[in-house]
């Protein structure tokens, strides 16, 4: 249980960093597609007996490469290309998994994870992913921020929009690949989006959005595990459901706060105070 909690918190922190930019840049559909795109890779790895993480990485690479090729060569919009690859990869994953003798069990494990079954090696993978994702986000924070506003702003500021968009996708892919073991490919999207979306309701800076997302994700992990333990429910699903409920409650509380403070708006932030962050 302690390992599960620690693993879940590591997932929450990794997803908080990547999820912040997923929410800001509007990449939720891409994140969803990536989360499902890894399915055939993991299924193949299970059938052939090699590392699931390696299989997931291959699946993610095929997904990203496929979206890029379909978008450019066939002049389709990004969401159409992503949708095509998304359902194609998902179907392929189910077809491959159906060859397995323990079809239902394997598919459920890939889709919903096995948080209570993780070991120290899984934790080491997850911790490495957190460090890598954190390093990518730190180094690329300026172009990522510009991309979150507008591609043109990034380009006229001297940053390659295409390159840093791809770097952002790689960061999301690493997060998905590392997190599927704990919360599963289906639910990792919930951990990417729900805590970051909660953070965006209250934060005024990217750093605080990430911090709130990490706290919400960690709290969801703790509450979700408790619920799962006491009521014998699926751990991964309980965690993600908790994160979504926290978002819903936060959104309602935020609306009430905004409506109450509306009349005092002009007095909230009248002058420059504190340090200017560049």
């Amino acid at each position: 249980m302690r390992l599960a909690l620690f693993g879940g918190i590591l997932v929450a922190c990794t997803c908080a960093i990547a999820g912040t930019f997923v929410v800001l840049r509007g990449l939720a559909f891409v994140g969803d597609a990536l989360a499902h795109g890894v399915l055939p890779g993991i299924a193949t790895a299970m059938l052939l007996g090699f590392s699931g993480i390696l299989g997931a990485a291959i699946g993610a690479a095929v997904m990203m490469g496929g979206v890029s090729i379909v978008t450019r060569r066939f002049r389709l919009s990004g969401d159409t290309a992503i949708g095509l690859l998304f359902v194609g990869m998902l179907a392929l994953g189910v077809v491959i998994t159906s060859r397995s003798t323990s079809f239902v069990g394997d598919l459920a494990r890939i889709l919903f994870g096995e948080l209570l079954g993780i070991n120290t090696t899984d934790l080491a993978w997850q911790f490495s992913a957190l460090l890598i994702v954190g390093a990518i986000a730190f180094v690329s924070r300026r172009p990522f921020l510009l991309l979150s506003v507008d591609d043109g702003l990034a380009r006229t500021s001297g940053f390659s929009a295409r390159m840093f968009h791809n770097v952002m996708l790689i960061m999301v892919a690493i997060t998905v690949i590392a997190s599927f073991q704990t919360v599963g490919t289906l639910l990792v999207l919930g951990m990417l989006i729900a805590p970051a979306a909660t953070g965006s309701l209250f934060a005024r800076r990217i750093e605080s959005m990430m911090l709130i997302a990490a706290l919400v994700g960690s709290l969801s992990t703790y509450i979700g595990l408790l619920i799962s333990y006491h009521y014998d429910l699926a751990a991964g699903a309980s965690i993600v459901l908790t994160a979504v409920v926290i978002f819903a409650l936060s959104a309602i509380a935020n609306e009430i706060r905004r409506s109450r403070s509306h009349d005092h708006h002009d007095h909230e932030h009248p002058h420059v105070h504190g340090e200017i962050h560049v």
Binding site: L24, R142, R155, H269, V272, H273
Partner: protein, 237 residues
């Protein structure tokens, strides 16, 4: 020395030019005003100068380099800057993004950067909202914020696509004063607008209607026959 040089330039999307045969030279401190109806090619020309669209034909240089090659010296304000309602940034952070071209990936910001950000906010009159979330601001306040971001670049060429859109009379006056101040320190400005009044202090005016209708000093470029051709009406005398 020439800040912006274009010869036989054609701009557009895909294979069909929106405007062609553009030739001009602008010196430091000069103002070129682009006037035309929607779809006349103003924004397309500005995007080409900013390096966001490749020129279709001809030659164009800014400060001796191809468009998009000097991000620290050329700043661009798009027609409708994006202020995502999900963006959790306060005004000063959005303005500070104007310094990113100078800082790149790894440079740490200095006191000078912070002073420039503060000065840019003061000049556009948005400093009183420095800590306000940009998503809570009115359209006019957001426009001032984006204008401050462009000023924070401290560029030698400003490409402004309808910077007064959404601003009230005082805001428009403030933008006109800002442009005058920038020109006084040698900054070359290209301004796209619908307002004929914006052309009064220009060195060059270009009337566009998916082609160059006229190009010259305001008195010459805004002659009645050109305005009638461009807009279907003339200025009251």
């Amino acid at each position: 020395m020439t800040s912006i040089h274009a010869s036989s330039l054609a701009v557009g999307y895909g294979k069909r030019p929106v405007v062609d045969n553009i030739s001009l030279d602008l010196k430091p401190g000069e103002l070129l005003v682009l006037i035309g109806t929607n779809g006349s090619g103003k924004s397309t020309l500005l995007k080409t100068l900013a390096g966001l669209i490749d020129p279709m034909q001809g030659k164009v240089t800014l400060l001796g380099s191809a468009p998009g090659q000097l991000p620290t010296q050329v700043a661009y304000l798009p027609q409708h800057p994006v202020s995502s309602h999900t963006l959790p940034l306060c005004v000063q952070d959005v303005v500070a993004m104007g310094r990113f071209a100078h800082l790149g990936l790894f440079k740490r910001s200095t006191d000078t950067d912070r002073a420039i950000v503060l000065d840019s906010m003061k000049r556009t009159g948005i400093d009183s909202q420095a800590n306000a979330p940009i998503r809570d601001l009115s359209g006019g306040q957001q426009q001032r914020t984006h204008l401050a971001q462009v000023l924070a670049r401290r560029a030698e060429v400003l490409l402004l696509d309808e910077p007064t859109a959404g601003l009230d009379l005082n805001g428009r006056k403030a933008v006109a004063e800002l442009i005058a101040t920038e020109r006084a320190r040698g900054v070359t400005v290209v301004l796209a607008t619908h307002e004929l009044a914006d052309a009064e202090s220009a060195n060059l005016v270009m009337l566009l209607a998916q082609r160059v209708v006229s190009l010259g000093a305001p008195a010459e470029a805004l002659r009645d026959e050109y305005l009638r051709e461009c807009f279907g009406f003339t200025q009251p005398h």
